[in-house]
């Protein structure tokens, strides 16, 4: 009844990890639990140059979900490397989420991360505008995804996970492109673009007009995407979207996810990942089953 799971060349002691951007560098959670007990630490998206992020307000609560328009604010790879050094003391995988505005930027950051001994694996966020191609999102075009993944992969030794944007419509072709180009795992998915208007002022509530919708309300849609891709894709799928309870995670495992990421729920309970791991242990024990038997066990 082990919780271990292999994702590409990585072994995770359990299938639970935070979603990028909701767990800082991980260090901020030191007060709340032992980071070594997590399946992995996934750090906030980092880019070549620092990014100051979007105009406030940046968050907006909605019933059962939230919008955020952080704008990928980050300190840039140079400063971030020092944070990485600190993470080295934890006995778990360190997955670094990264992004760029051009192929070249993606490659450059990837190379730096690949050379850092604390980094276990890279998670590529492709929900970013391709500035060279007129700002169209990398992640919505199968060909762009193929090229991006292929070129980045050429330049690194470590495993590369590709995190999809659900705003692409049909995720199967995108996931397939990423797989064909050498991704070791597919993370499904990032946030759904949404907005909220303040009727009294007739202004968007977010400073950036729109933002990413996350939380429990997105789970039915992301679950469907995971279900569809799991049938078509051979590399492991890591599910991400709206997980709050163990049941939520189980639904994802049952439709075929090998591991899960928890995002927004870290804000409603900073201890949630540790609690989910404990509950998962009890569940597998009570059901006398194993994680591998659970994955993809949907009866249809």
């Amino acid at each position: 009844m082990s919780l271990k799971v292999r994702i590409g060349n990585l072994e995770l002691k359990n299938p639970f990890m935070p979603a990028s951007g909701t767990f800082g560098s991980g260090l901020e959670y030191e007060d709340f639990g032992n980071l070594s007990e997590l399946g992995a630490i996934v750090t906030k998206g980092v880019s070549l140059n620092p990014k100051i992020g979007n105009k406030p307000p940046r968050i907006c609560e909605l019933p059962g979900g939230m919008l955020n328009s952080i704008g990928l604010e980050n300190i840039g790879i140079e400063k971030f490397v020092k944070v990485l050094d600190e993470l080295g003391k934890y006995e778990t995988n360190v997955i670094v989420n990264f992004f760029g505005n051009s192929l070249e930027e993606y490659i450059e950051v990837a190379k730096i991360l690949d050379g850092h001994n604390v980094v276990s694996c890279l998670e590529m966020n492709i929900s970013c505008p391709n500035i060279k191609e007129g700002g169209m999102c990398f992640g919505t075009d199968p060909n762009m995804v193929y090229t991006l993944v292929k070129e980045v992969k050429k330049n690194i030794q470590k495993d590369l996970w590709v995190k999809l944007t659900p705003n692409a419509g049909n995720l199967i072709s995108i996931a397939r492109s990423a797989e064909d180009a050498g991704a070791s795992a597919i993370v499904i998915a990032n946030t759904y673009t949404g907005m909220k208007v303040d009727v009294a002022t007739k202004r968007p509530v977010l400073g950036n007009i729109f933002g990413g919708y996350s939380g429990p309300v997105i789970k039915p849609i992301t679950l469907y995407h995971v279900f569809c891709c799991a049938k078509e894709i051979n590399v492991p799928i890591i599910a991400c979207g709206g997980i709050v309870t163990l049941e939520d995670a189980l639904e994802y495992f049952i439709v075929g996810a090998s591991a899960v990421q928890v995002g927004t729920a870290n804000f409603t309970n900073p201890h949630i990942l540790w609690e989910l791991i404990k509950k998962m242990e009890s569940y597998l024990r009570a059901e006398n089953t194993s994680l591998s038997d659970l994955v993809g066990s949907l009866k249809i």
């Binding site: 951007g21 901020e28 992020g53 955020n68 952080i70 927004t264 870290n266 804000f267």
Partner: protein, 253 residues
């Protein structure tokens, strides 16, 4: 705050007392002992049993002793309405203490407007200040009045229904002009109040005003980057760089 231990545990609201118009004082019985904290620190409170209210809410620590955490809050929206009206006991999750704190020192002044009194109240009670100015909108929204009066606090109300009539910022301003005070001022109140205090600092010079700021928050400890506040020098995180800032660092040119 790195060296202060934080807790993150379940708690139960066991008592609730209305202390003014829409303002309540509550006691939360925590599963763990609340750690040492500093004036200005806050906690995040999550309403566990209400999926509707997704995010936790930030509240200043009013008082904490052993496993009892006390907060004072105003009913303004969905979440605070639930805390104000639901039947007790009411389950919550609490984490903190979070954020930085007010500067500490001798002979400081203190200016508080409305709910801004909360993070400063215990410090006022301990007579940590040379002079304290507290302003309310009117007598109906005023609380802890007797106790403040006992400590010689200068109380005012916008409409004159309690204490001196007028905005507390102006009463404070008159005081500065009268006394030529030099030193630190700590403050907490609405954003317009803080802006006015900055104008006053710029005009009178010689003072260093610190204020506690509010922004919508998701995490409360620096990971979501949701509480960004614009300053002339870029964004700051209200939850972890603040909530207390020198006004100059927020408004200054």
């Amino acid at each position: 705050m790195k060296d202060v231990r934080k807790i993150n545990c379940d708690g139960v609201i066991t008592s609730r007392r209305k202390i003014a118009n829409n303002i309540y004082h509550i006691k939360i019985e925590l599963e763990e002992r609340f750690p040492i904290f500093a004036y200005g620190n806050f906690v995040m409170v999550h309403l566990k049993d209400y999926m509707n209210v997704l995010l936790p809410r930030p509240f200043s620590i009013f008082r904490a002793k052993n496993k009892i955490l006390e907060l004072v809050f105003k009913e303004v929206g969905t979440g605070t309405k639930m805390i104000a009206t639901s039947i007790l006991p009411f389950n919550v999750r609490v984490w903190g203490p979070l954020g930085n704190s007010f500067p500490f020192g001798k002979d400081m002044l203190c200016v508080a407007g409305g709910l801004g009194l909360i993070p400063l109240y215990q410090s006022i009670i301990k007579r940590n200040f040379k002079e304290v100015f507290v302003g309310f909108k009117n007598i109906y929204e005023a609380y802890f009045v007797k106790s403040l009066q006992k400590r010689g606090v200068i109380i005012s109300s916008d409409d004159g229904s309690l204490g001196e009539r007028g905005f507390v910022t102006e009463i404070f301003y008159q005081y500065l002009k009268r006394t030529n005070f030099k030193g630190k001022v700590v403050s907490c109140g609405p954003i317009g109040f803080l802006k006015r205090l900055w104008e006053i600092e710029r005009e009178v010079g010689n003072i260093e005003t610190y204020g506690s700021f509010e922004k919508h928050m998701a995490c409360g400890f620096g990971v979501c980057l949701g509480c960004a506040m614009e300053t002339p020098w870029g964004f700051v995180k209200v939850c972890s760089d603040g909530p207390v800032f020198r006004l100059k660092d927020v408004f200054g040119e």
